[in-house]
Structures are given as structure tokens and as C-alpha cells.
């Protein structure tokens, strides 16, 4: 059983009557949050995100708090216990290049439980202490909270292929250095120009947010890799890109994205759902983001994330530009 509220940062110190508190904070109020957390005595964990969702709205100045009536086992990636059952709520430093490795390690340890959450961090793409628990704030890591119930979850994005593919001929973690044996940005730019889109280093994210990369799977949707920035001809993504992988240039259709969100939500039977929605998706949808939230036809709450985590019956994945819905 949980209770979910939207509060001002200074109200947090008054919270009680629960065993564990999950705190989802927009980056803009992190200073006030830190001041007030000092007064909080109950066990808590949470992340700092580009924004939060509560009911049908996005907030940048208020905090979503989720009160659990069960005592959750909270642990960082450096202290993973031997066994975990039920589900794990996972907040990861979204800009940490080793985030996927930590998630894989958790999956290898705990197997087919449910994993739901997303990447914390700043939309400025600067590293910040974006994860916290009673012991303080930290970055470059992962925070887990073990829920007894098996969370049902769904994940979708709605992005579709343009028909253009690249081979990521040189990569390093999340950085694509070369596409088709040429500097990555040059190739990417060339193809966007063919589609009538002008992209430069300055307007990179403004344009690129509509044209992510997709890695194909035999079943289900492509895994999306979100191009976040460019530097020295290389492209930084919000998730790992393996060398020699075939990347499809994807395109967005707002209606399809919203439809994906709706279908995702519909597959979960619950009056209230946790939603981890990608900030880049939010930025792409713009004013239409409200439509996506509306498409989630029930009470919802959650973070706007830099990368999403979802797995229940398949190998764990760190998604981009995706919406994850679960019945926490």
C-alpha cells in the first residue's frame, strides 16, 4: 500500500506515518530538498530528475513523495545483497556510462524479478549528485529499493524507422565516434539534411531529439538510443552503443508516441500507476506531452528521466525515449 503526494520541498521535513519514503525531486528544487531532508528521520530514497509527473501534469518545482507502508530494503550498487525477490525500484545516474553494467549485474544476481525506474540527473547534461538516501547524495551509481510485490510493468516508445541505417563503425561506450567509417556527426547531419533538417553543433539536441537511433530486436520494438550532444564530430547518446551495431535512423510521430503511451498504460490494470517518462520524449512532444499524460487514463506519478529501466520477463534494458508504466 502506498500514498502518493505532491509537496513543496519545505514540507518534506513534516512527513511521517510511513515505513519508507520514495522522493522524486525536480532538479530545480534540489537545494531546498537537501536542506529539508536533514530533518527527515524515516528511511527514504530518491532521485533528482529534470522534472516530475503527478496526476496529469509535469512539475519542475514540486516534489513527488511516495509513502510505503512496508519497510523497503534500500541499497546502493556497491552493496548489492545476495538475494532479492519481488521487485526492485531502480534509480540510476542517467549520465553515468557504466549504468548499464550495474543494471546487468543486478539482473544476473536476481534474475527474473521486476525492475522499474529510470535515470536521474540534470537536463543540462552536467554531472550532479542525483541519487540520495538517508546516508546522503551521490552520483555515478545506482540506488535500489526492494518492494515485496511483483510489480507489473509495460514499456513502449512509438518511434518508427526512417528506412536509413548506419553501421556504428567506431564507438566507445555511449559515444558514437564513427558511422559508416566517417565521423558520426558528419554522417548523421548529411542524412538529416537529405530529409530537409538542418542540424549543427549548436542546435543539435533541438533537432536530434526527433531523430534517435534504433537497435533492432527480433521481437518487439527497437531499442532507442537518444543522441544527446555532439562534440568533435562524435555523438553522445543516453545509452551504450555497441561497436559494429546496425543503427536505424528513427523518426517520431507525436500521435504514435502518444498512442504507445496509451497502449502501455492500458496493459497495466491499476487505478494508479508509476510512470517513468523520458525527458527527451517530453521535449519532443512539447505541448503535446499533456496529451501523452492524458492518454495514461488514470492517476499517475513518476519522474521525467534520462533513460528508463524496465524488465520483468526479459533481459534488463536501459531504454531511451521510452515510457515505462508499472503498478508500484
Amino acid at each position: 500500500m502506498i500514498d502518493v503526494d505532491l509537496i513543496n520541498p519545505d514540507e518534506i521535513k513534516d512527513l511521517k506515518d510511513c515505513e519508507t519514503l520514495m522522493i522524486l525531486s525536480p532538479e530545480k528544487v534540489v537545494v531546498e530538498l537537501k536542506e529539508n531532508l536533514n530533518y527527515l528521520s524515516i528511511p527514504y530514497f530518491g532521485g533528482v530528475f529534470p522534472g516530475v509527473i503527478y496526476r496529469k501534469n509535469r512539475y519542475d518545482d514540486k516534489i513527488v513523495v511516495v509513502r510505503f507502508q512496508e519497510k523497503l530494503k534500500i541499497f546502493r550498487d556497491s552493496e548489492m545483497p545476495e538475494h532479492v525477490t519481488g521487485s526492485l525500484i531502480v534509480f540510476v545516474d542517467g549520465l553515468y556510462p557504466q549504468a548499464e553494467d550495474i543494471l546487468e549485474r543486478a539482473y544476473f544476481n536476481y534474475g527474473l524479478i521486476s525492475y522499474i525506474g529510470g535515470g536521474a540527473g540534470s537536463l543540462t547534461l552536467k554531472e550532479i549528485d542525483c541519487l540520495f538516501d538517508n546516508r546522503g547524495f551521490f552520483k555515478k551509481g545506482c540506488l535500489f529499493a526492494n518492494v515485496k510485490k511483483r510489480i507489473k510493468l509495460a514499456v513502449r516508445h512509438g518511434w518508427s524507422e526512417t528506412g536509413t541505417t548506419f553501421i556504428a563503425t567506431k564507438t566507445n561506450g555511449r559515444v558514437i565516434m564513427e558511422l559508416d567509417w566517417k565521423p558520426a556527426f558528419e554522417v548523421y547531419k548529411e542524412h538529416l539534411e537529405k530529409m530537409g533538417k538542418i542540424i549543427s553543433e549548436e542546435n543539435f539536441f533541438e533537432v536530434a531529439k526527433a531523430y534517435p537511433f534504433g537497435v533492432s530486436k527480433m521481437e518487439g520494438e527497437f531499442i532507442i538510443r537518444d543522441p544527446l550532444s555532439t562534440e568533435n564530430g562524435m555523438i553522445l547518446c543516453a545509452g551504450k552503443v555497441r561497436q559494429n551495431s546496425v543503427l536505424s535512423l528513427m523518426k517520431g510521430d507525436k500521435n504514435k508516441l502518444i498512442e504507445a503511451a496509451r497502449k502501455c498504460s492500458e496493459s497495466i490494470e491499476s487505478d494508479r500507476v508509476f510512470v517513468a517518462d523520458c525527458i527527451s520524449r517530453v521535449l519532443y512532444l512539447g505541448y503535446d506531452f499533456k496529451k501523452e499524460l492524458k492518454a495514461i487514463d488514470r492517476e499517475c506519478f513518476g519522474p521525467l528521466t534520462i533513460g528508463e529501466v524496465a524488465s520483468s520477463e526479459t533481459f534488463i534494458e536501459f531504454h531511451n525515449k521510452t515510457i515505462v508504466v508499472g503498478d508500484i
Binding site: Y110, S216, M218, E313
Partner: protein
């Protein structure tokens, strides 16, 4: 329906993951990607030859749908909650074959690499400019890490000594590279040096040993000390290479073969006596002891021996004197006693005559024994002119009215006293038994031997007796005396390393030939 574009892309990407590198790293990345692309939630793999067993995740739920592959080098199983399309087996099969081939290459390469890396030999790969391209652990320990640096050309030599260690080097042509394998043979070399030093010490000891020492291997002598040279009369170089049996008289061969076989088998053989033939043909009695031992060339037999000829002769002398006292003189005394008994009864002069004859024989026996003693007592040998000695002997027989003719001369090194007794006995024998009136003495000689031929012109000696007349106590005819005279001649001459023969003289009589060595 399977999307073929996605399938081609997926298979292309997955196949690119199968390339030589760390087995675990490759397997983990490959399996993770297959799981992601094909929606599997579980995988387990076993690669016995790599000692690898992996389940991803380590805990999994039972009741999954599964698909499995068993190849030469691995067993792999994937599982998931959703049903698995049947086509997946055929789709994944070629990838699994490629995985198997890659594993074969990796495992075998790794095994070879580990073998080389952990080899106790120094292994280095160099290019044509002697730049080190690769080296194993032992090589790094010895030379430091020289990869991409030049190495001394001495490593192309067969034998290398470095930092007090010895290496036996083999160089293999590997096309653009050369493989250098250097075996550390320091322990062996040091052992050999120590063995050689020990041998050298042993040689020095053996060299100054007061007895003869010979070492032989495979029946051939490989070493002889100074005493052995002295005793055998050969120089060391003449002894080395000779067959063991070459130094032994034929009548000893069987016995010695048997002894040597026992020694080769490692059996303990107590000291024994035998005979050897010196270079000059002289036979010497020796006492031998020996054993098998390790030598630098393997196992050898070392024998030490001493000359026991004087002791042997002494034994013979004692035995001779003993037999005379116990047998010959005792016989004569018995005869005297018997005739005395008869005389007491009969008082016949004939019995007194018999007693007188016996007493004379006893006197002769004693004279012979005294002569023999004198002959063997004179151990000192001296150079003598034979003609002078013979002239003196002839003078002693001048009262016998016999004509003596002495011809020739020769210088020999002998015991003069002994030789005089021997020649006198022969002359006396000729005068007593042959009835000759003339005796010719001829001296002949060559580089090694000389012969003294004493010829009479009497009645001669029948052929069937020629061998017997030198036996002890042999008496023949009415003029028979003690039966010791010629026996003593033979003994004396043999003691000098010579020999006595008898031939018929022409037109009648006998020729006694004394053959003596010059030295």
C-alpha cells in the same frame, strides 16, 4: 512472420561478436546480445575445456520455455517465459557453429599459449632484425621485458652462457619470424663439471696409487695409471682401446669373462688372483679387485691389481723344498733303514754298498737343493757377457776329459748365479748320461732373445722322454741320480722369464736350448 531485414541485421551483429579474445568476455557479450535480440530471459552455458560454467542470471525460474544447442566445445541453453518460435533453432544454428569454431580456436590457442607461457624453457620470437616480438614468462624473468626491443645475436648460437647459467639453444625458422627456444641446462652442466672435477681428483689419486689401476668400458680400456703401465710394460696410449682379454693369457679368458659379466650385472666379486701377459710376453701373477662405478661417459668398471708373482714363486719354492724333504730324502732314509736291518742279519757288503749309494743320493739331493736355493736367492740381475760366464763354467769341467767348444756371445741381464747352476746341471747331465766326449756351446741372439744351445754327441734322448726329463724326480737308465737336476734347470730358467727345450743333435746326441729374454 520473421522480419528478414531484422534477422539479417541481428545475425550480422551477433556474428561480429564472435572473434578471438578472452573466452569469458566473448561468451558473456554474445549471450547477453542473443538474449536481448531474441527476447530470452535466461541462458546457461558449459564449456568443459575452458572450465567455464555460467548461468545468466544465476537464479532463474523453472518452467521456462527452452531452446538448447550442444556442440563440440559447449552446451548452451536459452529460456524465456513466452513460447519460443520453432524457427529460432535453425536461425541460431549457424551462429552456434561459428561460436563452436571460435571456441575451438580460442581454447586451443589458449592452451598452446599457456603451455608456452609457463614453459620452463626460455621462448622468444624475433624478427629478422632480432627485434623481440614475443617472449614467455621465463624469458622475461631472465632478460626483462624486451618486447619490441632488440636482443643479442648470441641467442642464435647453440650454446649460451648468461648470468652464470647455461642454455642450449634451438632456433626455428617461422617465416618472417624466428623462434628461439633456450633450454636451461645449468644443472646438467654444473653436474658434468662437478663430475669432471671429481674424475680429475680421482685420476690424480689413482695416478699416484702404489698399485695398478685400469678402467674399462664395454670391454675396452679407457684409463690406466702409471703403476699399470709399469706392471704391464705398455705405455698408457697402448693400453687404452685394448680389449680386456688382450692382456690375459688364453687359459684365464673364461674365468675373467665370467667375472666381468658378474661385475656388469653389479654383483659383488671378491678379490681373486689371475695372470696377465706383459708386453714382453712375460706372465705375471696378479691379485685383482674391482667394481662398477659412474663415470662421465656412463658406467665403467675400475679394477685395481697388484703383482703377486714373487709370493706365488715363493709358494712354489716352499712346496718344492717341502716335497724334497718329505718325499725324496725320506725315501732314501727308508732305504738306508731297510738295508741296515738286512745288514744286521746278514753282514753282507752289498747292503753296505746300497747304503752308501743312498747316502750319496742324499748328499746329491742336498747339493741340488742348495744350488736351487742359491739360484733363486740371487734376486739381483746384472748385465753379463755370456761368453765369459760360459768360459768359467767350462773350466770347472776341465777334469772330465771332454772337449768344450764355445761359440758366439751375447749380453743379457740375468741372475748370473742361477744361470751358472742351470748350465752346469745340463753339462753334468750330458756327461753323466750321454757318454759324450764333446760338448758344443753356441750363443745366438736377436733384438729380443738369446739362445744358449748346449749340444752333446752322446746316445741322445728318445722322443717320448724329451718332455718328461724336466719333470721332478724323473729318473731314467742305470745312471739315474736324484731326478732333480733338469727339473731345477727348468725352474731357474722359467724364473728368469725364459724357457728350456730339447732337440736331437746331428749326427747324434742332444741339444739343450736355453732361451732368455734380453731385458
Amino acid at each position: 512472420m520473421i522480419d528478414k531485414t531484422k534477422l539479417i541485421t541481428t545475425l550480422y551483429e551477433l556474428s561480429l561478436l564472435l572473434y578471438p579474445r578472452d573466452v569469458k568476455e566473448m561468451i558473456e557479450e554474445f549471450i547477453k546480445n542473443v538474449m536481448t535480440r531474441f527476447g530470452f530471459s535466461y541462458a546457461s552455458i558449459e564449456i568443459p575445456l575452458a572450465g567455464l560454467k555460467m548461468s545468466l542470471p544465476k537464479n532463474f525460474s523453472n518452467g521456462l520455455h527452452k531452446i538448447s544447442f550442444e556442440k563440440k566445445y559447449f552446451k548452451l541453453e536459452f529460456g524465456r517465459t513466452k513460447e519460443i518460435p520453432v524457427e529460432y533453432t535453425n536461425i541460431l544454428e549457424p551462429l552456434m557453429d561459428k561460436l563452436d569454431q571460435t571456441l575451438e580456436f580460442l581454447i586451443l590457442s589458449e592452451l598452446k599459449r599457456k603451455l608456452l607461457e609457463n614453459n620452463e624453457d626460455v621462448i622468444i620470437l624475433v624478427d629478422k632484425n632480432m627485434i623481440v616480438k614475443e617472449m614467455n614468462k621465463k624469458a622475461v624473468e631472465l632478460l626483462g621485458d624486451l618486447r619490441e626491443k632488440p636482443i643479442d645475436r648470441m641467442w642464435l648460437n647453440e650454446n649460451v652462457r648468461l648470468n652464470g647459467r647455461y642454455f642450449y639453444v634451438s632456433v626455428y625458422d617461422l617465416g618472417f619470424l624466428k623462434g628461439i627456444i633456450a633450454k636451461d641446462i645449468t644443472e646438467k652442466v654444473l653436474l658434468e663439471i662437478e663430475l669432471k672435477e671429481r674424475e680429475e681428483r680421482l685420476r690424480k689419486i689413482v695416478e699416484i696409487a702404489p698399485f695398478a689401476i685400469l678402467i674399462y668400458k664395454d670391454w675396452k680400456f679407457i684409463y690406466a695409471n702409471k703403476e699399470a703401465e709399469k706392471l704391464l710394460g705398455y705405455r698408457k696410449e697402448e693400453i687404452i682401446g685394448k680389449h680386456v682379454l688382450d692382456l690375459l693369457p688364453p687359459d684365464c679368458h673364461e674365468k675373467i669373462k665370467h667375472v666381468i659379466h658378474r661385475r656388469i650385472r653389479g654383483e659383488a666379486v671378491p678379490p681373486y688372483d689371475t695372470k696377465i701377459v706383459r708386453k714382453n710376453g712375460e706372465i705375471r701373477h696378479i691379485l685383482v679387485d674391482g667394481r662398477k662405478m659412474k663415470w662421465s661417459d656412463g658406467e665403467v668398471i675400475i679394477v685395481a691389481f697388484v703383482d703377486i708373482t714373487p709370493q706365488k714363486l715363493l709358494e712354489e719354492d716352499l712346496s718344492f723344498l717341502n716335497s724334497i724333504l718329505r718325499h725324496d730324502i725320506s725315501n732314501e732314509i727308508t732305504i738306508i733303514m731297510n738295508y741296515l736291518e738286512l745288514y744286521k742279519e746278514d753282514k753282507s757288503d752289498e747292503f753296505l754298498k746300497k747304503i752308501e749309494e743312498s747316502v750319496k743320493r742324499i748328499v746329491n739331493i742336498i747339493n741340488n737343493v742348495r744350488n736351487f736355493e742359491e739360484a733363486i736367492k740371487g734376486k739381483e740381475c746384472a748385465k753379463i757377457e755370456l761368453k765369459d760366464v760360459l768360459s768359467k763354467i767350462v773350466k770347472d769341467f776341465a777334469h772330465n776329459n771332454v772337449e768344450f767348444r764355445v761359440k758366439g756371445d751375447y749380453t743379457v741381464t740375468v741372475n748370473e748365479g742361477g744361470l751358472k747352476i742351470a748350465i752346469s746341471n745340463i753339462i753334468e747331465n750330458a756327461l753323466r748320461h750321454s757318454g759324450t766326449d764333446k760338448i758344443d756351446i753356441e750363443i745366438r741372439g736377436n733384438e729380443d732373445y738369446c739362445e744358449i744351445r748346449i749340444a752333446d754327441y752322446g746316445k741322445g734322448i728318445p722322443d717320448d722322454l724329451k718332455e718328461k726329463i724336466f719333470e721332478k724326480g724323473f729318473r731314467y737308465g742305470e745312471s739315474a741320480n736324484t731326478g732333480l737336476g733338469l727339473y731345477i734347470v727348468k725352474k731357474i730358467i722359467e724364473r728368469m722369464g725364459g724357457e728350456v727345450q730339447i732337440e736331437d743333435n746331428q749326427p747324434g746326441g742332444s741339444v739343450f736350448i736355453l732361451r732368455l729374454r734380453k731385458g
